[in-house]
């Protein structure tokens, strides 16, 4: 009965309040609208799940992927910087579709003389330019680096018709390749190898003037099968330069012929070690396989320096075999120093390998293999044990590029062997990043051509964790830094980008060719988003399990963004549609603040304001059941006797209720708040995020409360919460540990703190020094 009366009373107030609001603002009738909630599920953005890809984010019962196996004979012509090859491709059509034609990728055609890549960008005159750039643009002949296809034949030696459209080649089949069937064909080709230090290509050579040698890092060097899948059909989007690669898995047998004094390593297991290694090298290799704490040199610097002068006319063929890889790359030179170390991962033993010319030393012999070891350990712990038998880090000037088991990395000391911290940490970070790419996208094989962030963002996120773990494991290397100085990953590092000019920001869910700032777009922002998801939104336990589930579900398969988004939710029971929508599909940013605070005290009587209001509504106090009143302490109508008194002492009604309904024992244990506050938070930024609040009380004690992001679901601009406390509230801070990438912290505290400029802060710091 009592409850009924209270309900009635509150209803009366509610109705009158609404009536007044309507009287005050007579408005034109508004139009309807679509569902604009930031918490709306992503059904409209996501494709409908089907039997290929399940709603859980796992591969469906009919999931399929194609397979492309290669047998190749490659020869490197070091004198003319030319490479030629013959390859036999065996393509397995595991799809349910019959294929009338096949698409192969001719990535080197991005460097034909008439490449459209050079024509697709607008140009403006630069009033001052570096002579090198000027010459490249207006004086030099363009480099002729495209593929020359000599023949394309079927298994019986009969020519197959083909059509080349820029970087894509369509092979027309005489009869459709039926579902479940396979086809073999051969291609003979050659091209001129570019100087990668001039063209900034991902593959090519560096020429060392002093000794007349080249160091080659060779990749996307052979006609490669495009991906055919249930989501894209043929992924034959052109290679323009930014969007990297989409490749099917397969098995490779590759014979590479190079000058006899060259060292070579690449994707796959070496099949003829005893033919290409000296006795000395074989003995050192056996030692390296058992060396778990430090690398063993297979080729020393002295040996490499001696080889630099030999310029052998003889040839040597290195035979490599790889299973279940999506690509093949290799590095070769007579300048190379070579070291290896064994790493234990679960019950597997893997080799961590580094290859570098003397120009990389002393930095490379000190640190490269250490970085490879840490990467294999950290990434394996967060995903799955590294499944290949080795991971190689190759020194290449200004490069940072990944392939299965092998990658190119920058970091060159000065000529006198000294190096700055920038060079050192740059090198460690790029090695961790590129070796890490073995996991994403070499094994968890996402489509880089379409979604740069799926490998770069996930990899940069794991890179951040690995860098931190490297710092913890090697404090002497990172000293005097207390923690590894990661460039990306910490929330505050992404603020300048997310706070930037909206006309130069694209959503993460954009094609890499069309974004303005690829670095923060595909690397920094997704990495930071995942870090925030792990530390602040989901917590490590739920996140790590879900992330591992995704990695294991999709290793050696082709995931899409939705497979990732769906798995993270399916494995954790955390609804993240709002998070994906805000962080990945929009360019919204985080800005949450504390807008204001109202104080209240408990009373037995309505405040004068409420009385006035009741009078206007013709309600008598006597008509109402006994109520507990809260009056605003706005300075004018305050009853000083009631302020800060325990609620039960201020309100007889409350006291009576407690006496009637609670035992003495229960009453002894109650909270008896004295101070009441309505704290209002506002959200100028578009992204909903957990509302992380630190309350400080008069006695100096602090209380931290995190309200879930769903607090914003009905009002995206402003929400209030009540604080009822036995202590007076003296301060409120939103996001006190700066964990949400809030772009403007001037509104994060009550009372407002005066925000000093960086310059004034610095002046303050140096005062008295």
């Amino acid at each position: 009965m009592n409850q009924f009366k209270y309900a009635l009373a509150s209803l009366v107030f509610l109705f009158t309040a609404i009536a007044i609001a309507q009287e005050e603002a007579p408005k034109e009738r508004e139009q309807g609208h679509y569902n604009q909630s930031k918490f709306k599920q992503l059904h409209e953005e996501f494709a409908t799940p089907n039997t290929y890809r399940s709603a859980s984010g796992a591969p469906g019962p009919d999931y399929y992927q194609q397979q492309a196996d290669y047998k190749m004979d490659i020869e490197l012509d070091d004198k003319n910087a030319r490479i030629n090859g013959v390859e036999t491709v065996t393509y397995h059509n595991n799809s349910p579709d019959d294929l009338e034609y096949l698409w192969l990728q001719l990535d080197q055609n991005v460097r034909t003389k008439d490449t459209k890549s050079a024509l697709r960008n607008p140009e403006i005159i630069s009033e001052a330019s570096e002579p090198e750039d000027f010459a490249k643009q207006f004086i030099n002949q363009p480099f002729d680096g495209g593929f020359n296809v000599e023949y394309l034949k079927d298994a019986n030696g009969k020519a197959l018709p083909y059509t080349i459209n820029q970087t894509m080649m369509r092979v027309d089949l005489p009869a459709a390749l039926k579902s479940g069937e396979q086809i073999s064909f051969s291609v003979k080709w050659w091209y001129n190898i570019p100087d990668h230090t001039v063209n900034r290509a991902r593959s090519g050579y560096e020429f060392f003037k002093k000794d007349g040698n080249r160091a080659y890092v060779i990749a996307q060097f052979f006609p490669r099968m495009a991906v055919y899948s249930d989501v894209e059909g043929w992924q034959n989007h052109q290679f323009w330069g930014n969007g990297e690669f989409a490749l099917p898995f397969g098995n490779y047998e590759v014979n590479i012929t190079v000058p006899a004094d060259h060292i070579l390593d690449g994707t796959g297991e070496l099949q003829n070690r005893s033919e290409v290694f000296s006795k000395e090298m074989l003995a050192r290799y056996e030692k390296a396989k058992k060396s778990f704490d430090a690398p063993v040199l297979i080729v020393t610097q002295a040996e490499a320096e001696a080889a630099e002068k030999s310029f052998s006319d003889k040839k040597k063929t290195w035979r490599l075999k790889a299973e279940n890889v999506r690509d093949f790359a290799f590095a070769t030179s007579r300048k190379f120093i070579w070291d290896m170390q064994a790493v234990k991962l679960g019950n597997r033993e893997v080799m961590a390998v580094s290859i570098y010319p003397k120009e990389g030393n002393p930095l490379w012999e000190e640190l490269s293999t250490k970085a490879v070891v840490q990467t294999l350990r950290s990434y394996s712990a967060h995903t799955f044990d590294y499944p290949y038998h080795k991971a190689i880090s190759v020194h290449a000037k200004d490069q940072g590029m990944e392939y299965p088991m092998i990658c190119w990395n920058y970091g060159r000391p000065n000529e006198d062997g000294t190096y700055s911290d920038k060079v050192k940490f740059g090198m460690l970070s790029v090695i961790i990043h590129e070796v890490g790419h073995n996991f994403f996208p070499m094994i968890v094989n996402s489509d880089e051509r379409q979604w740069g962030w799926m490998d770069e963002g996930l990899d940069t996120f794991l890179q951040y964790m690995t860098e931190q773990e490297f710092g913890e494991a090697n404090p002497e290397i990172i000293a005097p830094n207390a923690k590894y100085p990661s460039r990306r990953g910490d929330p505050d590092k992404i603020v300048p980008y997310m706070a930037g000019d909206q006309s130069t920001i694209s959503p993460i869910m954009s094609n890499p060719e069309n974004v303005y700032q690829l670095g923060p777009n595909a690397y920094g922002k997704p990495a930071t988003a995942l870090n925030i998801l792990r530390e602040t939104v989901m917590g490590r336990e739920l996140f790590d399990h879900a992330f591992k589930t995704y990695a294991n579900r999709w290793k050696f398969k082709h995931p899409t963004p939705e497979d990732f988004f769906r798995t993270m939710e399916d494995a954790s029971a955390v609804d993240l549609d709002w998070f994906w929508r805000g962080w990945f599909y929009t360019t919204d940013y985080v800005d949450i603040g504390v807008k204001g605070i109202k104080k209240y005290y408990v009373a037995d009587k309505p405040s004068p304001k409420l009385k006035e209001y009741m009078a206007a509504q013709n309600i008598n106090e006597a008509d109402l059941p006994p109520l507990v009143y809260l009056s605003e302490d706005d300075g004018s109508e305050t009853d000083p006797g009631l302020k800060g008194k325990p609620s039960m002492e201020s309100s007889i009604t409350l006291k009576e209720f407690m006496m009637d309904n609670m035992t003495e024992e229960e009453r002894a244990n109650i909270k008896n708040p004295r101070f009441f506050y309505e704290v209002t938070f506002d959200k100028p930024g578009g992204l909903p995020m957990p509302l992380i609040v630190e309350y400080t009380y008069a006695d100096g004690s602090k209380e931290n409360i995190t309200y879930p992001p769903e607090i914003w679901r009905k009002n995206d601009k402003e929400v209030s919460r009540i604080v009822a406390s036995t202590k007076e509230l003296t301060g409120v801070v939103v996001d006190p540990k700066a964990e949400t990438a809030d772009i403007d912290v001037t509104n994060n505290s009550w009372p407002r703190k005066e925000q000093k400029s960086d310059f004034d802060q610095f002046k303050e710091e140096i005062k008295g020094k």
């Binding site: 403006i124 005159i125 630069s126 009033e127 001052a128 570096e130 900034r200 991902r202 330069g241 930014n242 990297e244 200004d398 490069q399 940072g400 590029m401 920058y410 000294t418 700055s420 911290d421 920038k422 060079v423 940490f425 740059g426 790029v430 990043h433 590129e434 770069e456 000293a479 005097p480 100085p485 460039r487 130069t504 303005y516 700032q517 690829l518 670095g519 923060p520 690397y523 920094g524 400029s757 960086d758 310059f759 004034d760 610095f762 002046k763 140096i766 020094k769």
Partner: protein, 170 residues
């Protein structure tokens, strides 16, 4: 507009790491007017390895910047270098500045300079000369951003054009 585009490009370049990395030489200097202190507050952001290289080249001193071994005379050398390669002129008169110090932000050294007692009348020409690192690198580009009251202006200064002029706004 063109300058703006160049500036934009320069801001974007360093973000294209991994895959398309290119060694480039650039510094960024912000010059803000503080109404409160009636002074020009200047911050110059210079890559640590570039700064270290130029100090070594000019003064023959390896300063080991941002390490435990950082030389005690470093700040003195940096101040000396800034005085030699950077100046502010108002109405044609060079304004003495104070080198307050520096701090490190990842791979960048942030130098703090202050020019006190600045209260020119509207329209007075103010000129900045920025030759930082152009003595070492031919390709060095120095971005300068002015912010005075609500007025912003940017310059890209290179070896061939080291000065930029702005008239003091209303």
């Amino acid at each position: 507009m063109r300058l703006l585009k160049t500036a934009l490009l320069l801001c974007i370049l360093p973000l294209l790491a991994f895959g398309t990395l290119h060694k480039f030489y650039v510094s960024v200097t912000n010059i803000n007017y503080s109404e409160k202190d009636q002074s020009l507050q200047i911050t110059s952001r210079i890559f640590i390895d570039d700064l270290q290289a130029v100090l070594l080249e000019r003064y023959g001193k390896n300063t080991h910047l941002a390490t435990e071994k950082e030389a005690e005379v470093t700040d003195e050398l940096v101040a000396k270098y800034m005085e030699a390669r950077f100046s502010i002129m108002i109405d044609g008169k060079e304004q003495p500045f104070r080198f307050l110090g520096k701090k490190y932000d990842n791979d960048v050294a942030v130098c703090y300079l202050e020019v006190p007692d600045i209260h020119p009348s509207a329209g007075t020409p103010m000129e900045v000369r920025n030759e930082l690192l152009t003595d070492l690198y031919e390709e060095q580009q120095n971005l300068v951003h002015f912010k005075i009251g609500g007025v912003k202006k940017s310059f890209v200064l290179v070896r061939e054009r080291t000065n930029g002029v702005l008239n003091w706004p209303q």
